[in-house]
């Protein structure tokens, strides 16, 4: 019996291969989009990690010599012989005709995991050569630079930060002509039991503690969260397609269900068989989806081989193995999506009376009949979304709000379209136009799922484009503001600080000491900064809110600037007053955005800071200069500063921007993909409807409209519906972006990303959506235009 029932169930798909294709393809595309977005997130993360690792601002404690000194190799050996797990580093500048590059020498035998170049982990990498002959790793640009001055093998490794070359410590000593010399030591995270403390063994070496995640990391976390939301949205678009396909298939199989039950197949077994059938489809589609997602990632990401290592667990160079966890998440999302899409249909089958009559158009009709109910539901959901936005709080609320908003809008779409089409019909002149609008309205129920998918796709694209572009504008502005000094350097004590300031006189355009103290303000832990106010601050800082000549008042010691975090948490805004010290109360004159910083900050003038905290000496300085390389060389060769205490902001900035640009490009490509999926949904709906609609078209044809005209009208109809949907998607997309930027982000990170509008982008998206609709409608319209007159005549002969 089970076998026979399975054969009967399968026969439906055998007769409707297109439907099966829609189901599997829809699900696979949904899963693929989800996987693709995950891949891009992982790509970006891997890039930041590589940047963090190679820029040295990292996860390991380090031992540094005093300014102007180096660490003799014997010290390293002595520390190793005392049991300390340290690894030697020699860093220096290597002059090339196109400017100097940073050369970093490491010892792969002792360096903690993850510090070596990515390519060195490859199986075909010749480590013997790395250790003995010398191999250099660098990105493409830097590699070309080095090749002109060094006669060693240079391997291009995109994970190495720009302007940096990695090689063996011995090779570095040779190239830099600094035999027996080290510039710093990296401390492994785990050390053996019972060692003599470093303060006794090496009191002259300064221990720099590992940084727990950089500001950049926190800023990008927000970006990832938003991209993940985009992944979900893409998935939702796919699920609409699946929902449509499953709903139609189940409706069409009602007769079969009735017959099978009449033949004695228990209802419970029948439902389980259908569940099993769907599960098989979901697994199949999930497999396809994960592979497709991988292909999307592989096509979109330039250096996929290096970064997919982490994502897919590729441990053999050249052959990529998908990680089990990856498969599982792909299957889970495919199965979950199918369950979501099929639950309603299965429920109906389970409740269907044994003797219910078969209704081939019931599915379409039911959608129409339910319009009022879904309208009410949509109104409820949208009201709920509004209520959540006004009174809700917390991350979960943010996502609940998104869900309410999107579902509500999707459900409201057919209703809104009906109203608009009704108005058009009322205003229509001429019988053909009248018929056109009426027929479009009549088609709406069958098209509504596809149109909902299109709505969500356009809205998601508008939302994500807005979010990503706003993010980019904000991020670039923030980088300019905070990383304005070309060079950051550190010293150890007041004597060195004074010497450095004297040395920099006339050499740097501006010297900005970083003076800060951890304190409590407005009852919250916060950092107070003393700023040497000059052109850098005046030109680069942008305020969220300000009042009057901000920097003049601050320089005069009459006012304070606070960051957004402190302002929001303490309820302070411009005009309020803040106690920066027990007896010093200053008016707040400006609020500054401070992305990626978890705690509050306030800025006063350097003079006031020194009066309040005379014991605090600046040990870090931002340097403004027109020639960072020359200043850097002067600092190392003349002042004797270690490379390790200098941070070249240009490198960090360029690298961060490059990583983001890559992510933006990929997001653009994903936009096109989502729209393609929505277009696919339209195509499938039109094809499905084409067969059912023949009886409605035949009379119009018989009344004198040619098949060609009918075809053109069919195309026009798709364009009209898509256009209306796109117009309705605009406010939804903006609402989506607003929720992501101002609610979800604030809940997650405590700061709000300003929202910018990009009308040109939206127009382009609308155009893409129309193109997708036209392309989807082209084939069905052509088919209609070429329908044999005999087919149309058969409608009247009742011989279909």
């Amino acid at each position: 019996m089970t076998g026979a029932a399975l054969a009967a169930l399968w026969s439906h798909w055998a007769r409707n291969p297109l439907q099966l294709f829609t189901l599997i393809a829809g699900l696979a595309l949904a899963t693929a989009l989800w996987s693709g977005v995950q891949a891009i997130n992982a790509e970006a993360r891997a890039s930041y990690d590589a940047a963090a690792a190679t820029l040295g601002e990292g996860r390991f404690d380090q031992l540094l010599p005093r300014v102007g000194e180096t660490i003799p190799q014997e010290r390293y050996i002595a520390l190793r012989r005392a049991g300390w797990q340290v690894s030697p580093v020699l860093e220096g500048r290597l002059a090339t005709p196109d400017g100097s590059i940073r050369l970093l020498g490491l010892d792969p035998m002792t360096s903690p995991g993850g510090l070596s170049p990515v390519a060195l982990g490859g199986e075909d990498m010749d480590l013997v050569s790395f250790l003995s002959d010398g191999i250099i790793f660098a990105d493409a640009v830097t590699a070309a630079q080095i090749a002109s001055v060094v006669d060693l093998e240079v391997i291009v490794d995109p994970s190495v930060a720009p302007g940096l070359a990695l090689t063996d410590i011995g090779v570095a000593q040779r190239l830099l002509d600094r035999g027996g010399v080290l510039t710093r030591l990296i401390l492994a995270q785990v050390q053996p039991k019972g060692l003599v403390p470093l303060t006794e063994l090496a009191p002259d070496l300064m221990r720099r503690v590992a940084q727990e995640g950089s500001d950049l990391g926190r800023l990008t976390d927000s970006f990832h969260l938003n991209l993940t939301a985009f992944g979900f949205l893409s998935f939702a678009v796919g699920i609409f397609i699946v929902h449509g396909a499953i709903g139609l298939a189940f409706e069409q199989r009602r007769t079969m269900v009735r017959t099978l039950r009449a033949l004695g197949l228990p209802l419970r077994r029948l439902v389980w068989l259908m569940v099993a059938e769907l599960a098989v489809f979901a697994l199949l589609a999930g497999t396809l989806g994960v592979v497709l997602g991988y292909l999307i990632a592989a096509m979109l990401l330039p250096d996929v081989a290096a970064t997919l290592r982490g994502l897919y667990g590729a441990d053999v160079a050249g052959s990529i193995r998908l990680r089990p966890g990856w498969w599982l998440s792909g299957y889970a999302i495919a199965l979950g999506g199918t369950a979501m899409a099929a639950a309603g249909a299965l429920w109906q089958i389970a409740r269907m009376p044994l003797l219910a009559s078969a209704r081939p158009r019931a599915w379409v009709m039911a959608r129409g009949a339910g319009a009022a109910r879904s309208g009410a539901l949509a109104a409820g959901l949208l009201l709920g979304a509004g209520a959540l936005a006004l009174w809700g709080s917390g991350m979960v609320m943010g996502f609940a709000l998104l869900a309410c908003l999107l579902t509500g809008a999707a459900l409201a779409l057919p209703l809104l379209l009906r109203i608009v089409l009704g108005i058009c019909q009322a205003r229509a002149r001429g019988v053909v136009a009248h018929w056109f609008w009426a027929d479009t309205r009549q088609q709406l129920p069958g098209m509504s799922l596809a149109l909902m998918a299109l709505l969500l796709a356009i809205a998601a694209n508008i939302g994500v484009s807005t979010m990503v572009s706003s993010f980019r504008l904000t991020f670039v502005g923030f980088l300019d503001q905070r990383l304005a000094p070309e060079l950051f350097v550190g010293v150890e004590d007041a004597r060195e600080a004074a010497a450095l300031e004297a040395f920099l006189e006339g050499r740097a355009r501006e010297v900005l000491p970083v003076l800060s103290v951890e304190t409590r303000m407005a009852g919250l832990p916060a950092d107070l900064y003393g700023a040497r106010i000059g052109m850098t601050y005046r030109e680069n800082w942008r305020f969220l809110a300000s009042d009057g000549p901000v920097w003049d008042r601050v320089a005069a010691g009459e006012a304070v600037i606070v960051n957004e975090q402190l302002a929001r948490r303490s309820g302070l805004w411009v005009g309020g007053e803040l106690a920066v010290a027990p007896d010093v109360i200053l008016p707040v004159i400006g609020i500054v955005a401070d992305y990626g910083n978890p705690i509050g900050q306030a800025v006063i003038s350097e003079a006031l800071f020194q009066r309040l905290f005379p014991d605090i000496i600046a040990t870090r300085f931002g340097l403004r200069t027109d020639d960072a390389d020359r200043l850097r060389t002067a600092l190392t060769s003349e002042f004797g500063m270690s490379e390790a205490v200098m941070i070249d902001q240009k490198d960090i900035k360029a690298f961060s921007l490059e990583v983001f640009e890559r992510t933006f490009t990929v997001t653009g490509a994903l936009n096109v993909l989502t729209l393609a999926v929505a277009g696919f949904a339209i195509l499938m709906s039109l094809l499905t409807l084409a067969a059912i609609r023949l009886p409605q078209l035949a009379p119009v044809w018989a009344l004198g409209l040619t098949r060609a005209t009918l075809g053109r009208l069919e195309l026009l109809r798709a364009v009209v519906l898509a256009l209306l949907t796109a117009v309705l998607a605009l406010p939804l997309g903006l609402a989506l972006a607003w929720v992501l930027l101002t609610i979800v982000n604030v809940e997650a990170f405590g700061w709000r990303l300003p929202m910018y509008l990009f009308p040109l982008d939206y127009a382009r998206l609308g155009l893409f959506a129309l193109m997708a609709a036209v392309m989807a409608a082209l084939w069905p319209a052509r088919r209609l235009a070429r329908t044999a007159p005999g087919e149309l005549l058969k409608v009247f002969a009742n011989e279909r």
Partner: protein, 347 residues
């Protein structure tokens, strides 16, 4: 694959080129020296490194007992692996050093690993006075038969005094130990008579211990034939004072190549060729995702040996760059006693 595993794989695994005694020149294709029969050892120089051979080790295992009768196993191994058959000062030295240390109790197995490059003083071996070291791990003394042994890891450290109670013993034909029917061989001698006295520092506190240790010295350029997949090596000390070293090299076709040395309490040895010594797994267990035999039947009929050798701690897995099983064993059957078992090549 990590960088370190790659280094070890490059260095440790046998090379394809079969060059044993090739044209009588005694070097293989890469210029490494190859062990020759009838060796003449030169001590103390031969306690030191032989950089013209591809691999070499100073391998000590100890069976120890605490004041409450609790049993412990200790391992200390320094490996030398050459990328090229010479040595030089500085980072350019092709000699790679790595070391493993472990403490085994019936419940725990603590492991640590160290890696170093030669030529910079981080690791090495000198003979007069004797010192073998890597970082702070050291086996050193004025003479080879009176030494102090130290090592430490994140969860343990030990400091043990070694005092030889008998002579050096030479395996195979006077220290020329054949490893396959095709003639692969190594130079191999041992000091199996060390008395041990010292302290183990474990997470639960310091434990004074006494017992016996066995030091193996072996070097070669190609210890295994290409069709050999791994080895099972036994060092057994019986209560009567006699000792047995035996190993079984597993071959791809399922056959084995065995070799053994019987050691009298006064150090007089008898070498046994392939087939005399037999080791048969009796019980296997899952260790680190692999199936590894942890109870064996060991036979040497010529000496009336038919014993069962069982692991003190079946989970004595050396989770290092090139992982293997190594731990203390208890002996029952025709003879009783304690010893050490090493098993490699179980995937």
């Amino acid at each position: 694959m990590s960088v370190r595993a790659l280094v070890l794989a490059l260095c440790l695994l046998p090379c394809a080129a079969l060059a044993q005694g090739f044209a009588g020149l005694g070097t293989d294709a890469d210029g490494f020296a190859v062990p020759q029969p009838n060796p003449r050892f030169d001590f103390p120089a031969d306690h030191g490194p032989h950089p013209d051979y591809r691999i070499e080790w100073w391998y000590l295992t100890a069976n120890l007992t605490g004041p409450d009768g609790a049993i412990y196993g200790v391992q200390w191994t320094l490996f030398r692996s050459a990328l090229a058959p010479h040595s030089e000062e500085g980072w350019g030295d092709p000699q790679i050093w790595f070391a493993h240390a472990a403490v085994t109790t019936p419940e725990d197995h603590f492991v640590a690993e160290r890696l170093a490059r030669g030529g910079i003083g981080q690791a090495g071996v000198t003979v007069q006075p004797f010192a073998a070291w890597i970082d702070d791990w050291q086996m050193a003394g004025a003479r080879f038969d009176q030494m102090r042994l130290t090592a430490s890891g994140p969860a343990f450290r030990y400091d043990l005094a070694l005092s030889a109670q008998g002579p050096l013993v030479f395996h195979g034909e006077g220290g020329y130990s054949v490893k396959s029917a095709k003639g692969q061989a190594s130079y191999y001698y041992s000091q199996p008579f060390f008395a041990v006295d010292g302290v183990l520092s474990l997470p639960q506190g310091d434990v004074p211990v006494t017992g016996a240790a066995w030091l193996d010295r072996e070097w070669s350029s190609q210890p295994l034939a290409e069709d050999q997949t791994g080895w099972d090596w036994f060092s057994l000390s019986f209560e009567a004072g006699t000792k047995l070293m035996g190993f079984r090299l597993r071959q791809e076709d399922g056959s084995h190549f065995t070799s053994a040395t019987w050691i009298e309490p006064d150090g007089v040895t008898t070498a046994f060729p392939d087939g005399a010594f037999q080791a048969t797994p009796l019980e296997q267990t899952q260790v680190a995702g692999r199936t590894v035999p942890i109870r064996w039947r060991v036979e040497l009929p010529e000496k009336g040996v038919d014993v069962t050798v069982g692991a003190v701690n079946p989970q004595s897995w050396m989770d290092v760059s090139l992982p293997y099983w190594e731990g203390p064993v208890l002996i029952t059957g025709s003879h009783r006693g304690r010893g050490y078992l090493e098993m490699t090549g179980y995937e």
